[in-house]
Symmetry: C2
């Protein structure tokens, strides 16, 4: 069955793609069989990560980038990496309607990725969704992360080109978080550049960049946008392409895959312990009936 779906996906069938995307989301065994088959067809899409502080306008920017790419005749996949409620297990942002105007366009395929109440797993699932959209022939795959935690930042970093979106006049904590994501940017976008403080932010950024030395010698570009008005979008794409046209360094590509493999392995290893074993063990430790380390020891012996 996965062979048939693979053929249809390669032929551009959007319904087959949607079905496969659900397999990836729900961690169905079919996903692995399918992606194993599709892997040789990957590697053609431009994978573009978009991250940044909350309120920076990442969704609007992605929407406008999609619009501009469609105007060029390019097909687009959008993966929105969202947090999930740990209580309900459902996607909190699922009902937030993303990029509504592209809804009827088969050239735009949008999926939200959410964790299912467990830590981690998001990077592995996002990797697989990216492979799927790449193999399906999407010219560009946008990976937009909604949170600004370490995981979301790392996920954006697994793209070929990473845009970090900043906005003038954010508070102290945001400055601190910015520090965590500064070093992953290939392109900086100063969005809402019509707000006061844009010049100051650009100066700070330039002064930061004059001190930072990337191993690959690239100095990240800085682009100003007002995404809500469509300003600076073509300049953003230009900056992305300028970086991308240098060609990914073999080291960088290998590093990205080594992180991805680690994440994929992690998920598969944990699947070996039945969920009810975690529940039972949790109870034993909570009641101080067993030492957590002796439980871990037993599991590791058994696996």
């Amino acid at each position: 069955m996965t062979e048939d779906v693979a053929q249809r996906i390669l032929a551009g069938d959007v319904r087959a793609l949607a079905r496969a995307a659900s397999w990836v989301e729900n961690r169905r065994p079919e996903a692995e069989a399918l992606l194993r088959e599709l892997f040789p067809r990957t590697g053609r899409a431009l994978i573009l990560g978009v991250t940044g502080a909350p309120g920076a306008g990442k969704s609007t920017l992605c929407d406008q980038l999609t619009e501009a790419l469609r105007a060029e005749g390019k097909t687009v996949g959008v993966i929105a990496v969202d947090p999930t409620s740990p209580y309900t297990g459902g996607a909190i942002l699922g009902d937030r309607i993303r990029m509504q105007r592209h809804h009827a366009d088969p050239g735009v395929f949008i999926r939200s990725m959410a964790t299912r109440g467990w830590l981690g797993g998001l990077a592995a699932a996002t990797t697989e969704m990216t492979m799927l959209l790449d193999a399906a022939g999407r010219d560009v795959v946008l990976v937009e992360t909604v949170g600004v935690g370490q995981d979301e930042v790392e996920i954006a970093r697994l793209a070929a080109v990473t845009i970090v979106v900043l906005v003038p006049g954010m508070g102290d904590d945001v400055q601190a978080i910015k520090a965590g994501i500064m070093e992953i940017a290939d392109v900086f976008v100063i969005n809402k550049a019509d707000l006061p403080g844009a010049d100051k932010l650009e100066r700070e950024l330039k002064s930061y960049l004059s001190l930072a030395h990337r191993p690959d010698g690239w100095t990240p570009s800085i682009v100003r946008t007002v995404a809500s008005e469509g300003k600076g979008i073509s300049e953003t794409l230009e900056a992305v392409r300028e970086y991308h046209s240098r060609g990914s360094s073999p080291d960088r590509a290998a590093q990205i895959w080594s992180v991805r493999l680690r994440e994929m392995l992690r998920e598969r290893l944990l699947d070996r312990v039945p969920a009810q074993d975690f529940v039972a063990a949790g109870r034993e430790v909570a009641e101080q009936r067993r030492n957590p380390y002796s439980i871990l020891h037993d599991w590791l012996e058994r696996l």
Copy 2:
């Protein structure tokens, strides 16, 4: 050696505690041996998670809570969960001086936890640091998360009591993120309550809470603070204690430990694959010489 350190920690020796904390941070094998020994001495501290959007003033709140607890004669441990630069591997926020005024007070022990360039792992390390401070006799352990990603939210949720800090007048994305963390709050703090919009935020919160039904029947309290002026701090502690005095439900405690065990197991399983294997495999996949799924298959066979 760990036995000796354990004895000194139980006797209140802060230097031994600092040494053990470094073991936990650096994932040294001594950490496991030590914590296995200390585990029976855990379970006494009040573990208090503090999370919320960037700029909400979490650090200031933690600082003030620490001050108030010290005034009561309580000893405090503070664990700041920070993102890290994926390039340098060093703690980005390490040099941000935290809670400087408590620096000379042996009754306050502060550590920053950072990921070491890999996804995940932070929850396991934070759990172990919490166990250590608990066993060391700290009356209260504050776990402050700096990021607002899924992982950071989950880490805060692994506390006995979770404070979610909100602030009036945040943007759209923050509203979305708020949705992800709304359900983990035992106590809501509206910080910067002197800003316009505090009433509106409290109304929204109350209307949300009137619809939300927690399995344990608790309705989260709402406290207003101006942490920078020390306002509302004793009210916050009172709300925390009110919730805590109900006693943790056995289900909740078991659930917390089941998540912790899963995270701890995950780290240990990944340690079985040498780092250079990930690097070599990453290169093979990046160059399309091997299919990632056949590599995973080989690893899973071997493990």
